[in-house]
């Protein structure tokens, strides 16, 4: 053995100096590469391995506890198994990287680890902790127990010298030569983390040091022998484990609970293998010897069975393996029910497996919360018992057919349980770790996350038929391509009575497709109506649903579709708000398994034929359920102008303006994309040009009708993917509170919304990675330009856009303020706060580029009521730092946007 001379650490001052040395060494060590570290780890493990016998001898000699040959196994385990398990583990620098996602994990050392080493494993635990520290680039101060200080310090020296020889910084490992209370307190204060192994007191004091601590605690392992167990295997495993190092492993069995049926067999096997069953009076004497006032007598720990028997004045043969007391009580008042850290075992008879579980539960609760439990049974046939046992035991290790001393420390009887000499007991044991402690517990992992933009997609109906008269071709497909046999038509009374669905039914008849119709859909369709339709569907069993009409009929059709396919679905759940439709909590049921869904709009506006949305009202509570999920996307949309020709003027106006707001909100949305932008812009161009014509002369102007029909569906596709914004949030509630048609409600609020969203310094902007700064004003200016609306600045263009929208609204007969539709001012004001809060909570709010405060929503409502304009709260004046060169104005979205694009 080397004979280096080290400064003796026996006082607070010297410890402080030692910690400074370790810290300085650790700072150097922190820059080592994985290759350097692995070389040191290997050399240190080899040295520890070589010293396994000398260290085992020294430990037994110094502590007077345990067995040399078993301590050799522990030392061997602590070096070989730990090395083998972690040799290839990455613990330095980048340990995992995902370039595409912009994420990497970087391992950093913690600093100086303060390690407490127990008397029961003075050398193996020292090896173990020192090796973990080296593998993770930490420094370590080893604190031995006074009873085992020589052997622990010697073990630390061996690892240190081997590590330094392999290139580790000098002083990377240090130790306390003379442990004392003051020194202990200093160590706790100065270290970065405590790695304590010991009894509950030690562990509690580690946790109370105010430093992060990895502490573990006492065990009180019960072992059940079920009547399906291999009794010979069970008994001999327990003897093997219980006698290991004279019972000083904390996972060691303290009690064996044997089922009545195999009790005698187990007892005979224990006796045949050299265990001694205590007679009644002997049991009593051993009781009083092992436990003093509820605490474990220090004199028996790690002693041979015969030595303990002698202390209790019981005469047993010298080679006795275990003293077994047959006892009944599992209460803590029974001395045999305690953790004994010696070859003394309690044996219980259980009348059945439930009794055995109950006893084991109690023993764990009394003294081994979180540690280890074990059971012997036929693991092939008794999986249910394993299941129940593992769910009932509050232990972090549940071992099956395994000697618990060897089993608990891992990698000996199961190769997926990590090898360790520090076994976490979870929150049950007051610990911060529940697994077997390893290197990952001694590193800080930094996650480096680069900004990434959300994945987006574009979804639309599988098929969209358009052009005047396209119905015939579209329906033909039902028979010739899709092979449908039974069609169910959903529509409203007006359309039904005016023969509007006649072209559909005639063709179905021609093709020999059975059909039925539900025509009782009213505006703002109710759940009752949808249920009624769904009942009829259930009876008719369609393989195809054709919803014909405006938003109400199509929405009602979608809901009936849901009820028909999934009668168990809950609307509360389906209507749950989401921040991101792809991360929503609720998984929408799979649609289309029973029926194919076709939407045939009869007015140009809602876009429901191309959206995954539907709104339904619970007539009992008045609650509106806005459902949104791509499962609700129609399979086919038929945009046939023939169905649009007779739409009345009011409907044409309201739907047309609704489509304007769809396009405007989709364009400004946080989730707007090149795909949705192009649809929105084109839709707006068409509507501004053709809405007045469709309004004036709809009955005869087939071109205007067709253009409007296309524009509405395109706007629908746009917002089906980009979503809407706060205008719709407010319009939904205004409509619900004051019975204003949906399109009108949007028309009344759109001006306010545009001004509100256009702010260059909003109180809060929306949260979405793609939306990197407030740039909605520039977006609206783009809309204006696309519509041929000029202005000197973006703000001018916005104001001119609003004027154009206002004149379009006026042109189609829509009045300017909410007051024009809600003359009862008091009622409006009385319910304004409630309406405001509901609007804030509307699903559409999430995609708005500006995150609205409730006070701002209220202000917008008031402005729209009285015909005032939104005014921003005053902000600090930034003009004195303006560069003058608008090219470099960070608020100039178009500049930033185009320069980005150029780069790509």
């Amino acid at each position: 053995m080397e004979s280096n001379v080290y400064e003796i650490t026996d006082s607070v001052e010297k410890l402080e100096a030692a910690i400074s040395r370790v810290r300085a060494a650790q700072e150097i060590f922190a820059s080592y590469t994985q290759e350097q570290v692995d070389r040191i780890f290997s050399a240190a493990a080899m040295a520890a391995n070589r010293a396994r016998i000398s260290m085992a001898k020294l430990a037994v000699e110094e502590t007077g506890m345990g067995i040399v040959e078993d301590k050799v196994i522990k030392n061997h385990f602590a070096s070989e198994y730990i090395y083998n398990k972690y040799r290839d583990l990455k613990t330095c620098g980048v340990i995992c990287e995902d370039k595409a996602s912009g994420m990497k994990k970087v391992a950093e050392p913690i600093g100086v680890v303060a390690a407490v080493i127990p008397t029961t494993n003075p050398t193996s635990t020292a090896f173990f902790k020192a090796l973990l520290a080296l593998k993770t680039r930490n420094g370590i101060i080893i604190s031995p127990h006074p009873r085992a200080k020589k052997s622990t310090v010697e073990a630390a020296k061996i690892v240190l010298e081997a590590a330094v020889a392999a290139g580790a910084p000098e002083n990377i490992i240090s130790w306390i030569d003379v442990p004392s209370l003051e020194v202990k307190a200093t160590r706790m204060k100065k270290a970065a983390i405590m790695l304590a192994t010991g009894g509950p007191g030690m562990v509690r004091s580690a946790y109370s040091s105010g430093k992060p601590a990895l502490g573990v605690g006492a065990g009180n392992t019960p072992a059940i022998i079920d009547d399906t167990a291999d009794v010979v295997l069970a008994v001999n495993s327990i003897i093997h484990s219980k006698t290991f190092d004279n019972g000083m492993i904390c996972a060691s069995e303290q009690s064996v609970i044997v089922l009545d049926k195999v009790y005698d067999a187990a007892k005979a096997e224990f006796a045949a293998r050299g265990c001694y069953f205590l007679k009644e009076d002997e049991t009593e004497r051993v009781r009083k010897t092992i436990i003093v006032n509820g605490a474990l007598n220090a004199k028996i720990v790690g002693q041979k069975a015969a030595t303990i028997a002698a202390l209790a004045h019981v005469n047993v043969p010298c080679g006795t393996k275990i003293l077994i007391g047959e006892v009944e009580s599992v209460d803590i008042s029974e001395e045999f029910a305690h953790e004994k850290l010696s070859p003394v075992l309690a044996m219980y008879r259980a009348k059945d497996i439930q009794d055995a579980f109950a006893k084991a539960e109690r023993l764990v609760a009394d003294g081994g919360f979180g540690h280890t439990s074990s059971i012997y049974l036929n693991a092939v046939t008794e999986q249910d018992k394993i299941q129940e046992f593992s769910s009932r035991m509050k232990t972090c290790r549940v071992l099956v057919n395994t000697p618990s001393s060897h089993g608990g420390i891992g990698d000996l009887y199961n190769f997926r349980l990590d090898p360790s000499l520090t076994l976490g007991c979870g929150s049950w044991g007051g610990n911060s770790v529940s697994g077997n402690v390893g290197p990952m517990n001694l590193i800080n992992i930094k996650t480096v996350a680069e900004r990434r933009e959300n994945m987006l997609w574009f979804r639309a109906p599988e098929k969209v038929y358009f052009k005047k008269g396209c119905l015939r071709t579209a329906l033909d497909e039902l028979k010739n391509v899709l092979g449908k046999k039974r069609a169910f038509i959903v529509t409203d009374k007006f359309l039904y009575e005016h023969g509007c669905i006649k072209p559909i039914t005639s063709q179905l008849d021609e093709m020999g497709i059975e059909h039925a119709a539900f025509f009782n859909v009213a505006p703002d369709p109710t759940l009752a109506c949808a249920r009624e339709g769904a009942e009829q569907m259930k009876a008719f069993r369609p393989d195809c649903i054709i919803a014909v009409g405006g938003g109400s009929a199509m929405d009602a059709g979608k809901i009936m579709w849901v009820l028909y396919e999934h009668p168990e679905a809950d609307f509360h759940d389906m209507a749950m708000r989401f921040m991101d439709i792809r991360k929503r909590t609720y998984v929408f049921p799979k649609m289309g398994e029973k029926a194919y869904f076709i939407a045939v709009p009869t007015s140009a506006g809602t876009g429901s034929e191309a959206t995954p949305f539907a709104v339904i009202t619970d007539e009992k509570t008045g609650v509106k359920y806005p459902l949104a999920d791509y499962e609700l996307m129609p399979d086919m949309a038929i945009i046939d102008t023939d169905f649009h020709m007779t739409a009345p003027k009011g409907l044409t106006a309201a739907s047309g303006i609704d489509a304007v707001t769809h396009a405007l909100e989709a364009y400004a949305s946080l989730m707007a994309t090149d795909y949705t932008d192009s649809l929105a812009i084109r839709a707006l161009q068409i509507i501004f040009k053709y809405l007045p014509r469709a309004y004036d002369n709809g009955l005869n102007d087939a071109v205007a009708r067709e253009k409007m029909a296309n524009a509405a569906t395109m706007a629908g596709m746009s917002f089906a993917n980009a979503f809407l914004g706060v205008c719709h949030s407010m319009a939904h509630k205004l409509g619900a509170f004051h019975h204003i048609p949906h399109g009108i409600a949007n028309a009344l609020l759109i001006d306010e919304t545009l001004r509100f969203n256009a702010s260059e310094a909003p109180s809060k902007m929306g949260t979405f990675p793609q939306y990197d700064h407030p740039h909605t004003l520039a977006r609206y200016a783009e809309v204006a330009e696309a519509l041929g609306i000029d202005g000197d600045s973006d703000s001018d263009k916005l104001e001119n856009l609003i004027m154009a929208i206002d004149s379009l609204k006026e042109r189609v007969g829509i009045k300017p303020t909410i007051r024009d539709y809600v003359p009862d001012e008091k009622d409006f004001l009385d319910r304004l706060d409630e309406m405001t809060e509901q609007a804030f909570d509307d699903q559409c709010t999430a995609a708005n580029p500006r995150y609205p405060l409730m006070s701002e929503i209220k202000q917008m409502y008031l402005n729209a009521y009285y015909g005032r304009s939104f005014k921003e709260e005053e902000k600090p004046d930034a003009s004195f730092i303006a560069s003058g060169d608008s090219q470099f104005d960070s608020h100039n979205f178009k500049y930033v946007y185009s320069s980005k694009t150029d780069k790509n």
Partner: protein, 249 residues
């Protein structure tokens, strides 16, 4: 002041009665700090809501330090148990209830129980390894901030003529975990040779308060070690048998 009627003689102090006053006179050589500390401790707990004789004066009588307090007329619970053995259970009940009452009080200015215990263990004539274990054990014991009398035994409770129980001798009061004080009372019964009384007391306390005996027993090794700094050689030997238990570390 007339020091005529001796009420009690204890180690290095004598207690006299003078009309409405009770005078505790300390022997010469008794630490001034200890005397003043005792008076201060008692003054601190006077208002916690327990019947405690009021401190009136701390003075010197014939060159000896003395504490003058209110005299309480009545018998101690210890004496009452002797006088009326048939009512022993009743008195024990009263004793335990009173202990629970005290242990429910707080008094933030008192010294900390664990500090005192650690200081006593440091002084104890026990080998360094065992002291290390005991310090670790004290550290790991649950905390508390309740009034712990420190010497709560039946001879320190006087039942006044109106039936109110007065608690005397607050020299050892600290604030800490109540169960430590229960363990100490249990130990003091033992040391007084009343082993039966000790277990009756503990059973009753645990039953009435709903705490487990195990939780009280956890304190025994450290309470016994702290106590070992005081007692005589025979007591010491007995106490150390309670101290030498294994804290797995």
């Amino acid at each position: 002041m007339v020091l005529e009627r001796v009420i009690a003689v204890r180690n290095s102090k004598t207690v006299y009665r003078d009309g409405a006053n009770c005078i505790k006179v300390f022997d010469e050589g008794y630490s001034k700090a200890d005397v003043l500390n005792e008076a201060l401790n008692q003054a601190k707990v006077e208002k916690i809501g327990i019947c405690i004789p009021e401190i009136k004066e701390v003075c010197k009588i014939d060159g000896k330090w003395a504490i003058v307090s209110e005299y309480i007329k009545g018998n101690t619970i210890e004496r009452l148990m002797e006088l009326e053995p048939e009512k022993k259970d009743e008195y024990l009940e009263q004793f335990v209830s009173l202990h629970m009452d005290i242990l429910s009080k707080t008094c933030p200015n008192l010294n900390r129980l664990k500090d005192k215990m650690n200081a006593q263990i440091t002084l104890a004539d026990i080998d360094a390894t065992a002291r290390y274990d005991l310090h670790a054990r004290v550290d790991g014991m649950p905390r508390g901030a309740n009034v712990c009398h420190g010497d709560f035994i039946p001879s320190n409770v006087i039942v006044a003529e109106d039936g109110r129980p007065f608690v005397i001798d607050w020299a050892h009061v600290t604030q800490g975990n109540p169960l430590a004080d229960v363990a100490r009372t249990y130990l003091l019964f033992w040391l007084g040779g009343n082993i039966n009384g000790a277990s009756q007391y503990l059973d009753l306390y645990c039953m009435k308060s709903g705490v487990s005996k195990q939780d009280v027993q956890n304190w025994m090794p450290v309470v016994a070690a702290a106590q070992s700094t005081k007692g005589n050689e025979k007591e010491r030997e007995f106490l150390l048998s309670w101290v030498n238990v294994f804290e797995y570390n």
